[in-house]
């Protein structure tokens, strides 16, 4: 079991959701309307007059075998629209109820 944390421009919401649906990943927790900015490039997404865009984040716990496919799909989506901003991080889940 791995935890995947995805942070992305809210414009990508539909597409991210579609990817999860396609991969039959049902469970997730989502925060919408969050602020954030990239470490190196890209516009900050602060929801202010200067930087009006906003981010959204998803935390989803997926079986180990699905992680790679999910990351590939996200990477592909990011490469198509690099300026939108999409980041994903994976770490292990130690216990769950």
């Amino acid at each position: 079991m791995k935890a995947v944390f995805i942070a992305y421009n809210q414009a990508l919401t539909e597409k991210i959701e579609f990817i999860l649906d396609r991969m039959s990943i049902r469970g997730f927790t989502r925060w919408n309307q969050v602020q954030g900015r990239g470490s190196h490039t890209g516009e900050p997404h602060m929801g202010t007059h200067t930087w009006p865009a906003m981010n959204e984040t998803i935390l989803t716990i997926v079986p180990d075998e699905k992680v790679n496919e999910l990351m590939d799909k996200l990477r592909h989506l990011d490469s198509k629209t690099e300026m939108q901003g999409l980041r994903a991080y994976v770490w292990s889940v130690e216990d769950a109820i």
Partner: protein
């Protein structure tokens, strides 16, 4: 924080706000005046212009036409009509309903000021006259007397009229038809001639002797005394002893040449009540007065006043409009009560919980009471319209609360705490509740914008329903969740007992109904095209019902009053007319035990009376006003009785023309029968007269028409004195002298006033009656000339017989003749078609036109308004729904119910035998807002099921099953609340019967269709939704 969240968290504030509203509402109710209809002032201004001595034709050219030409420019003028009669021109300016009459009268005054200088010399200043509803008498009493008859006027004046005038709100109390005391000096012309005295001299003597004059002051010693002459007659006997001259050394007294009679004036109008001689007392209210309160007060003081009357004077009520108002208001209040009971039963039946029922029912008084505040603040009255608006609204105000509470209950049953359930449950349905309310508002608010007469009637209806429904939604979003959070608990299993048996039975029945509906729906969805074609077939079939359901303007009401006008041969004297009047009275009283009071007046009112100029007057006219027992106490309606009276009248040979008006002609709006008016316009009076006669002939033969009348009077026979100016000059006379002399001898010379007890009575000198009965008498009149010589009238002129020109009527500056008839058991459209066809067959010269007016005109305007309104309402409702669903398709599916609502209306009207009229049409307009509510609830839920991923057919069936109960509940509460209205129990409520019937029919029928057809159509459109979904997924695939 959202409104329902605040309400739930602050229960005390919420409840106190509503308590405050209720208290303010009850306070307003206490001060609301009660009336039959909202105050409606007909937008008419009349201009009277007197031009003494001019004939109808002279008046037309010299007065009426210049006035018309100039007044035509006044703003907002709709129709300009005029009547030119001998001596008077009467112009009526009709404006659009709702226009500002004050402004209009100002404009008219400006115009009159401008043209006054161009009118002929001798024309009096034009008089403006404005009608208002407060001029319609609210009560009419009759007074009859035997021995006290000669003094009746004085007795009534002191004992009844003056005390009644002091009652607050009473505008005027007037007395008509009572005897008037007059001191007559009836001269014998032969004796007068013998003593060489003229009538004018006699008058002069009488006037000179009747004099009180202060003569100045007298200083006697240290005192000053006034000195005066007291010559006024102390009693009427003195007159006879008056010395009027001397002849051959003998004094001539008045009694030598004339008889002096202290008697009552010759009556030009004979008033009787139930055949006894008497007078009428007419009570009018001040504008804004409370008719019911005034009538109550009058009825309270009347027994007291009666005690001071002589024993033979009887006072009886001819009519009391307040009785009708009171009965109508009471029956409407009962209607509201019944409606409330029905709503309680329905809610209890479906929910099976007392607490839930209580919470829902509480929204009824809260929202209804707000309308009293509205009425009070806007200065309106509690009337038939406002009360029936309440009974229409009562079934709708609970809908929102039902939807909200149903959802909260289901949350509680799932285990949520009442407080959270109240907040979430309201949140879920809040938007749908607001949307259904908006559709209702979209229907009722435009009602306030209807123009014309119907607009005035429906403004209150629109405002009240809009307000009540909005308040009910606010209550459903605040009061209902708040009370639910406080009172609702998870339902414990019912204890055994009778209650359990009943409610378990109901539960089983409802579940069975759910199952039945589910299987029906499953079958219908499988055979969707069959369902579609059958539905279309039903709708088209119902259109063929329409010709069988008649069309009329306004449903007639039974106010227990019949008026009749009977014309005998032109020029017949009062004595003969009276005989016929007694005959008619006797027939009516014998044949119709329903007639309680019959009040008859024969003859004409005093000349110069402004009211007399409005109506036909003449010694040959009898008018009857009958009061019948109240509508609930008799089997025959006023229309049936009216019909039988017509048959009776047509059997009396001396009657030339008559009309019977059940309900009265001018009393309540719309209560009289509908009229058709054929207006023939053209300059040549002979030609139009002939055409009018022909038209009247054909119209009399038409089955659907009654009481055909021609507005132009038949030519009057009159005698004119044609004078020879040369001969007059020879004898030292002129026309003025001769004319005055003639008038003084025939009509009489008012010589002086006899004063007694502060009252003045005329002393009238004229020829004794026996000398006023033949042409010889007239020709034998001796006229004194300037030299004091007497010239016989036949020396200077001759009497010739003439047909005087009839009165000339004009409309929009053209001469017209009207042929009017009232409609009976026939469709207006058929009659109009027949009339037009008949006119086409006539020999009509160039320049003569024909037009149809009367109620038809108004009806067409009103119907056009309502149809336009219907269109507007449909568009508005579509917009509201489309914005709620954010879709063009869903509202379209929902609107498919509308045709079936109309099918239901036609069907129900056909079954109950009612007609399509203004009221049932308004009912149909309301249906647009009411029937779509069911569709909204259903389609919204199907959409929800689809969004949750259910397959199309399954979504439809699941949604249908779960929404069946709320749909049935809201439909039943609305429909059952209308039942008392549709049954038309009690007086006055029959006006609203067609509305109740059409709403119930339309709602029930469309609900049945909605429950099957809408899911079916949804599945037809659903395929499109699937296709689009597939396309979207494909696009997504490409993009990632």
């Amino acid at each position: 924080m959202r409104i329902y969240e605040t309400a739930v968290k602050k229960p005390i504030t919420t409840i106190l706000i509503f308590v405050g509203v209720v208290i303010f509402g009850l306070f307003s109710l206490r001060y609301l005046p009660i009336d039959l209809y909202p105050e409606i002032d007909p937008p008419m201004v009349t201009v009277f212009t007197f031009y003494q001595g001019a004939s109808a034709a002279d008046i037309e050219t010299n007065v009426t036409r210049p006035l018309e030409d100039n007044l035509n420019t006044v703003n907002n003028l709709k129709k300009l009509s005029s009547v030119s009669r001998d001596n008077v021109s009467l112009l009526t300016l009709e404006f659009e309903w709702g226009s500002n009459l004050d402004e209009a009268t100002n404009d008219i005054r400006d115009v009159l000021g401008r043209i006054e200088a161009f009118l002929p010399d001798g024309v009096d200043k034009p008089i403006l006259f404005k009608f208002s509803t407060s001029m319609i008498p609210i009560m009419m009493l009759s007074a009859t007397a035997e021995e006290s008859y000669p003094a009746l006027t004085k007795i009534l004046d002191e004992a009844i009229v003056n005390p009644l005038n002091r009652i607050e709100g009473v505008g005027a109390v007037s007395l008509s038809g009572g005897p008037k005391r007059e001191i007559q000096v009836n001269v014998d012309p032969f004796k007068l001639d013998a003593y060489n005295i003229s009538v004018e001299q006699l008058g002069n003597f009488i006037r000179q002797e009747n004099l009180n004059l202060p003569g100045g002051v007298l200083d006697i010693g240290s005192h000053t005394y006034p000195i005066r002459v007291e010559g006024e007659y102390k009693s009427s006997d003195e007159l006879g002893r008056l010395i009027v001259g001397s002849f051959n050394g003998r004094t001539v007294r008045l009694s030598d040449v004339a008889t002096v009679k202290d008697t009552i004036a010759k009556i030009t109008m004979d008033e009787r009540t139930n055949g006894r001689t008497g007078a009428r007392i007419i009570i009018q209210k001040q504008s804004g007065g409370n008719s019911v309160k005034i009538a109550e007060e009058v009825n309270k003081v009347l027994p007291q006043l009666k005690r001071s009357l002589p024993s033979d004077v009887q006072i009886e009520m001819i009519f009391d409009t307040s009785e009708f108002i009171q009965n109508s208001i009471n029956s409407l209040a009962m209607t509201i009560l019944y409606a409330g009971i029905f709503v309680v039963l329905v809610v209890l039946f479906f929910l099976g919980r007392w607490r839930a029922t209580f919470i829902i029912i509480l929204t009824i008084p809260v929202s209804l009471i707000v309308s009293f505040i509205y009425l009070y603040v806007t200065g309106n009255t509690l009337n038939i319209i406002s009360l029936s608006s309440l009974s229409i609204a009562i079934g709708m105000v609970v809908d929102d609360a039902i939807v909200v509470l149903e959802n909260i209950t289901s949350h509680i049953e799932k285990g949520a705490s009442p407080r959270e359930a109240a907040i979430y449950g309201t949140n879920e349905v809040g938007l749908a509740v607001v949307a259904t309310t908006l559709t209702v508002v979209a229907v009722f608010f435009p009602l306030t914008m209807v123009q014309g007469l119907s607009g005035i009637m429906f403004r209150q209806l629109g405002m009240i329903v809009t307000l009540v429904v909005v308040v009910s939604t606010i209550a459903a979003l605040t009061l209902t969740p708040m009370l639910a959070s406080q009172m609702m608990r998870r339902q414990p299993p019912r204890k055994t007992g009778i209650i359990k048996v009943i409610f378990d039975g109901i539960d089983r029945f409802l579940t069975g109904l759910d199952n039945f509906y589910e299987s029906t729906l499953a079958m219908a969805v499988r055979r969707r095209f069959l369902v579609l074609f059958v539905s279309i077939g039903i709708f088209i079939g119902s259109i063929f019902l329409l010709p069988m359901v008649g069309v009329e303007f306004f449903p007639p009401a039974d106010n227990g009053r019949i008026e009749a006008k009977v014309e005998l041969q032109m020029g017949l004297g009062l004595e003969t007319t009276k005989v016929t009047a007694r005959k008619i009275e006797q027939i009516f009283l014998e044949k119709y035990p329903e007639v309680e009071v019959i009040s008859t007046s024969a003859g004409s009112a005093d000349q110069g009376n402004i009211f007399a100029s409005f109506s036909d007057n003449g010694s040959h006219i009898i008018s009857l006003t009958m009061r019948l027992s109240s509508a609930t106490e008799r089997n025959r309606s006023i229309y049936e009785i009216g019909d039988m009276m017509r048959a009776d009248l047509s059997l009396i040979p001396e009657i030339e023309d008559f009309r019977v008006d059940p309900g009265g002609s001018g009393g309540g709006m719309g209560s009289g029968a509908a009229t058709v008016e054929v207006i023939i316009s053209g300059f040549d009076l002979d030609v139009t007269g002939r055409l009018a006669d022909e038209m009247a002939e054909t119209m009399t033969n038409m089955a659907g028409l009654r009481d055909v009348e021609i507005s132009r009077d038949k030519s009057n026979v009159e005698y004119q004195l044609v004078l020879d100016r040369e001969k007059m000059a020879l004898h030292g006379l002129n026309t003025g002298l001769v004319a005055n002399a003639l008038r003084n001898r025939m009509h009489g010379l008012t010589a002086a006033q006899f004063r007694e007890d502060g009252e003045e009575y005329d002393i009238v000198v004229r020829y004794d009656e026996v000398f006023r009965e033949s042409l010889d008498n007239v020709e034998g009149i001796l006229i004194p000339n300037n030299q004091g010589l007497f010239i016989r009238l036949s020396e200077v002129g001759t009497l010739k017989e003439f047909f005087s020109p009839p009165s000339i009527e004009r409309e929009n500056r053209q001469r017209i003749v009207r042929v009017t008839a009232s409609l009976f058991n026939a469709s207006m459209t058929d009659v109009v078609r027949d009339v037009r066809a008949a006119f086409d067959r006539m020999d009509v010269p160039v320049g003569v036109g024909m037009d149809i007016g009367g109620t038809v005109e108004e009806q067409q305007e009103s119907f056009a308004d309502i149809l336009l309104l219907l269109l507007l309402v449909i568009i508005l409702v579509y917009i509201v729904m489309a914005s709620q669903f954010e879709s063009f398709r869903s509202p379209f599916i929902i609107m498919l119910t509308l045709p079936f609502a109309f099918t239901g209306v036609f069907l129900m009207l056909f079954i109950t035998g009612h007609t399509l009229n203004l009221i049932s049409l308004i009912g149909s307009v309301m249906l647009v807002g009411i029937v779509v509510k069911n569709g909204i609830v259903l389609v919204d839920y199907i959409n929800l099921m689809r969004d949750r991923g259910l397959a199309l057919v399954q979504a439809v069936i699941v949604a249908g099953r779960s929404r069946l109960r709320p749909v049935l509940m809201t439909t039943l509460t609305t429909a059952l609340a209308m039942i008392p209205l549709a049954m038309g129990i009690g007086e006055g409520s029959e006006i609203w019967q067609p509305m109740g019937i059409s709403i119930i029919g339309g709602l029930m029928f469309s609900t049945m269709i909605t429950l099957v057809l809408i899911p079916v159509v949804y599945t037809l459109f659903g395929a499109g939704r699937m296709k689009r979904e597939k396309k979207r997924l494909q696009m997504m695939e490409e993009e990632i």
